[in-house]
């Protein structure tokens, strides 16, 4: 039904844009710029990480030993796969196949949920272990030397802020993709107009990218094969 898609396309062009091309490029560029601010947002944390790891290498190694290596690895795989499904859904959207878009996105959201659940299990284990810094801190740091004893809290503080912030992004991404999936189910997207799928996909990939770096920095400092 070419006529109906054209109507949809006309309808989805906002008044202040001259044409679809301009609208598409604007939203893509807008999202990329937003992702750059996100890079800098995490960048501040990465900088703190870098400085403190430099100052307290022992504490960071200690902290990393207390990461759940396999859970982290599984989560990495989950996120990579979810990125794949998102990429496929963008491809489906380019062909205007709304149903496939919706299915792929729902799978993605479920994988995101799985990621958060595993993360929750990890947090729970940390809680039991006493690695929440501040009042709740009661880790056994007897293997540590010197000011690494207290600096171990720094590692966990940075760990919780980084992964917590990342989890928040995963959550926002899930909400975003759910909306897109909903609109896809309603047949919203066409070969001409599918940029919301693309742009939301970019966001999800970014969330994946952050994790790609968090994983080695937090989990792999001192991994010893069990």
């Amino acid at each position: 039904m070419p006529s109906s898609t054209e109507v949809v396309a006309q309808h989805s062009l906002q008044h202040h844009f001259a044409n679809m091309e301009q609208q598409r490029e604007s939203s893509t560029l807008g999202m990329w710029l937003f992702l750059v601010t996100e890079i800098m947002f995490f960048g501040g944390l990465f900088a703190s990480y870098l400085v403190y790891r430099l100052l307290h290498p022992g504490a960071f190694e200690f902290g990393s030993e207390h990461m759940e290596f396999w859970l982290g690895t599984i989560n990495t795989v989950i996120l990579l796969c979810s990125s794949l499904t998102v990429a496929l859904s963008v491809h489906a959207a380019q062909l205007g196949r709304n149903k496939i878009v919706a299915i792929l996105l729902i799978i993605t959201v479920l994988m995101g949920l799985g990621f958060l659940c595993i993360k929750g299990v990890e947090y729970h284990n940390h809680w039991v272990e006493g690695s929440f810094p501040g009042h709740w801190w009661h880790m056994d740091t007897s293997t540590l030397r010197g000011d690494d004893v207290s600096a171990a809290q720094l590692f966990f503080f940075i760990y919780f802020v980084m992964t917590g912030l990342h989890a928040l992004h995963v959550f926002i991404g899930m909400v975003l993709l759910s909306f897109i999936a909903y609109f896809a189910l309603k047949g919203h997207y066409t070969a001409e107009y599918h940029n919301p799928v693309h742009v939301s996909g970019l966001y999800w990939h970014f969330v994946d990218l952050v994790w790609i770096f968090l994983y080695p920095l937090l989990y792999l400092i001192a991994h010893k094969h069990a």
């Binding site: 800098m40 900088a47 870098l50 990125s83 990429a87 994946d208 790609i212 991994h223």
Partner: protein, 82 residues
């Protein structure tokens, strides 16, 4: 795409003094693949996206490098009488 999963497992094997470097290199490779293929950087006719991404990375490295000019050289002239 299967390459991705492979690299994920590869990163579990590497150990030793260089493990962090290797792990980060693998992470960078993965990130590059995601960027190029998933995020369509490779297909994007509109080159400005690459510039934007480069700006982000560049500015982050400014933050890192210039902070390190302080932390890596602290105490170098701090010794008394030297």
């Amino acid at each position: 795409m299967a390459l991705m999963v492979l690299t994920a497992f590869l990163s579990t094997i590497n150990l030793g003094d260089w493990s962090t470097v290797v792990a980060l290199a693998i992470a960078a490779a993965k990130a590059l693949l995601v960027l190029l293929f998933f995020m369509h950087l490779r297909y994007e006719s509109y080159k400005i996206t690459a510039v934007v991404l480069f700006a982000g990375i560049f500015w982050m490295s400014i933050l890192f490098v210039l902070s390190l000019t302080d932390y890596l050289t602290r105490g170098v002239t701090g010794a008394p009488g030297h």
